[in-house]
Symmetry: D2
Amino acid sequence: MKERLQDLERLRVEALDSILGKPFRVLDDGFIRVIDYMGTDASIVQAARVAYGEGTKKRRQDEELIRYLMRHRHTSPFEMCEIKLHLRVPMDTWRQWIRHRTANVNEYSTRYSIAIDAAYATDPGAWRTQSASNRQGSAGFLPPETGRLLSERERELQETARSVYQERLEAGVAREQARKDLPLCTYTEAYWKIDLKNLLNFLALRMEAHAQEEIRAYATIIGEEIVSRWCPDTWKAFRDYTMESLTFSPVEQGILAALLAGDRDAAIAAAETGGWLPRREGALTFHLERYEFENKCGRLGIAPPWM
Amino acid sequence: MKERLQDLERLRVEALDSILGKPFRVLDDGFIRVIDYMGTDASIVQAARVAYGEGTKKRRQDEELIRYLMRHRHTSPFEMCEIKLHLRVPMDTWRQWIRHRTANVNEYSTRYSIAIDAAYATDPGAWRTQSASNRQGSAGFLPPETGRLLSERERELQETARSVYQERLEAGVAREQARKDLPLCTYTEAYWKIDLKNLLNFLALRMEAHAQEEIRAYATIIGEEIVSRWCPDTWKAFRDYTMESLTFSPVEQGILAALLAGDRDAAIAAAETGGWLPRREGALTFHLERYEFENKCGRLGIAPPWM
Amino acid sequence: MKERLQDLERLRVEALDSILGKPFRVLDDGFIRVIDYMGTDASIVQAARVAYGEGTKKRRQDEELIRYLMRHRHTSPFEMCEIKLHLRVPMDTWRQWIRHRTANVNEYSTRYSIAIDAAYATDPGAWRTQSASNRQGSAGFLPPETGRLLSERERELQETARSVYQERLEAGVAREQARKDLPLCTYTEAYWKIDLKNLLNFLALRMEAHAQEEIRAYATIIGEEIVSRWCPDTWKAFRDYTMESLTFSPVEQGILAALLAGDRDAAIAAAETGGWLPRREGALTFHLERYEFENKCGRLGIAPPWM
Amino acid sequence: MKERLQDLERLRVEALDSILGKPFRVLDDGFIRVIDYMGTDASIVQAARVAYGEGTKKRRQDEELIRYLMRHRHTSPFEMCEIKLHLRVPMDTWRQWIRHRTANVNEYSTRYSIAIDAAYATDPGAWRTQSASNRQGSAGFLPPETGRLLSERERELQETARSVYQERLEAGVAREQARKDLPLCTYTEAYWKIDLKNLLNFLALRMEAHAQEEIRAYATIIGEEIVSRWCPDTWKAFRDYTMESLTFSPVEQGILAALLAGDRDAAIAAAETGGWLPRREGALTFHLERYEFENKCGRLGIAPPWM
């Protein structure tokens, strides 16, 4: 392998270099900027090939290799890429963000410095209603006349909270204590550095339909504007094999197998055996896993056999 | 080693079992409770002895071994103990807490449920003034008449914020959005599980004099009420070799060596060589590292030679 | 929530307590023993419920909740359970094991102590042939007469290696250096402590058909003998939603949708569009992803449409 | 802070770029090469300043800030730098290396490929004797005539092991099984990527006098040849505040305080109170912590008061 020991230059990605430092705007006053990065699709291939004891191959084979690694969850080569972002984000979004523990973080300190004078404000048309079907989600918007009242109250509250903060500072209260009643949606800033494998885990959870709208806005920009430029082969494989894949449990496989064999009764029987068809007074009652499968049926263009 | 393969019972700590589930109160409405734990001082010894290929020894030797491991930063055996706590803590304290990434966490969700109806309130006599010497700290208290005004304003703001939150919920706003202007000091709850090595790291940083008072209150209870009961030998070694130890850099060693040799001029010369004695118009100007050493001199009962 | 603050006792699992310390034998001289554990299925439910702000529910609902968490990869509650094992394992198996970084480890030290006098020996009938289709796998066995020769040579080599080790020790060579030519399959021992989430990741990778036989033997015992006793609901959900699930990419979904619609030509067209049907001189050539899909077809009881 | 959002170029370090890809030779057939890196001293400063809400300052202040962060164990800004190395290292050294869990790793696979045809060989003059005082260390060398015999036996054993490996492959044994009796010191290769904070932890443990000579050889090159070029201010601060610092426990502080006050009797009394002066028949017996302090006395140029 000694012939491989030639001098090197750092790998660069033209498409990412051209946006380095430029802010992508998010929400009313947030942003994401790429500060630095290490590696690219080629680094993933290189790391996999050291394992295989192999050298350089053709472009097409590199892409196939990346797709293979992604499909089979051989995730360690994706750790060989690293990216550093500069973020400006409301603290209540940041509270969700920071739950991803495998990143390096330096956040703006409101112990050391005056808090950023900006809180995330809601447009009158942007007040979301509580989802009935999903206890932790939202669905649709409140009517604009209600929204106007809510936005006006929000503005007043944020101004009051800021005044109280200023009063405290002027009275000589320590910054670490003065900040305590700022709204959760006060903006903060941070450097956030993470490897590509863990970034993809973050995106899988935060670009997903159940993630809260605000963090989804950030995650979508990271995915579609940044990772897509940085590691395009990986991004495509991630979409195919993670974001847009469908997974079926043994009960679901049984139903699918029956349907593929053209046996609708057997499909219903498989669901029955799985306990999926509880009834009250003859009518099917709600069953979460069945409901989830019905959504997958939509993706496959079929009607559930019990409907 | 086969004779070691006898049946086992789980190790228990009487002193910890007796407080399991009982809340230690912190701040005005917070608490810490031990929910479960695994291992004790004996588990640390056992893990170290598997490395050494040795079996059980005497009580005294166990304590010596723990002290040796702590002193020499052989930290992996301390990972063999694990503890799970139930916490109730203001979110702005939790923001600092969660920066310790090597723990397992499940936090109360204000997307899924109504936010806890309690915010951390400040007594009139508890408003701290900004420290002049330490940009991120506090020092002393504001006079009570100022404190009364600040506490009154705090109460009003917290009530307003809670009203706005209620209005939003009543208008049908999704919980995930309604919460956005709650004060940072709103209480949250969490289960927090961590191994003893990483817990000691947490305590070293958060029981320390520069940590913010609120998190120090929690950390001190974890250390003095919980770890001291759970792993008493480890707790004692941690105090001796981490919390109460003093560390000296090469420049400081040079000064100490000169002082021990009774040569005050050589001590001053060592400080001078280290660049510690900058002067303006003949008078010493501030030098941070010298200032820190002067504090250590206090611990050793001597006056700095340049004073 | 204050009514929840009652005293507690540690959760116990009868079925696990009854095997504590008992070795499960693996390979010719290896074992796995449970030393200690924390938590059980109920702890996972409890951690999820703190997030939901809810208390105790019925047994049946607990199981449903665990299945829901597993199905939707809400993995953090599974981190609330922790287990500690004592292992005896050949070093070349341990080399694969230790790649799982999210565990706590204390290994027997051959710097400090004499190496364990046992190397993993291969029965004449247990020599596996190199797999042709899988570059990193094995398939079938060599004939016993070849095996006898190989086992005899193995025995000689292991004896020679041990003699050389002894000679070095007798000559006064430091243990840390004397060990350097011991065979990779020399046994070692370790304590290994890990949370349930990360243990399931380990099992998903190491019980899998492509894992090397030796580590699969250990992983299978951990899963089927230990986790199944410790957290039976979790174990069942893990089997259904991870081990035995099938995942389909967008191309595969297109093929399945066409087959479910009874349109074989459209299914072939979908594969063609995905680039899955490369031909040389009219005949299909090998295509890895198509091959993988053909295996999934077997699980669904259908023939691939292009066959 | 908006004025800070200018376009960026990646930070480069001239001194590191000039050695990119060049192997530093270690042991008889090992090497270390830098493959890529992200960040430099300036990135650490930048990360700390986002916390402080401050911008660019003078060179001298940057160095002071890095020294402050290192001295006070504010380690998170050091995580903002990342480096990727290509290593060739004997497997028994790699076994120690891989215990550092906070790194990204891709290792050459001997399941997938033929094992590297090189094992670490020992020169006749390089056989180390077992340390009497340190159970896990070595001290001095065996005489060359003994060494010659040992090296000859080593050569034979390594050749035999390699022959057996070849025989197995030729007989059709799967690579994953054929490798099982290779010597522990067979060379392997890996990509190893780690952030600067965790790299410094690695160096603190592996450049240290008690680390085994082989891994110390690698660690010393990483420190003195690579980190010193990459982040020179950090490297200097690390040497001053970690590698060359001295730490004193409360008992040691008591002894030092007495000595600084010129009171030798009080110093002896402090040691006595700490239980450091056990005697048998009038003579001091061995006491580990006292012995360690005596070594520190040497660093401070004084004799222990009880000698």
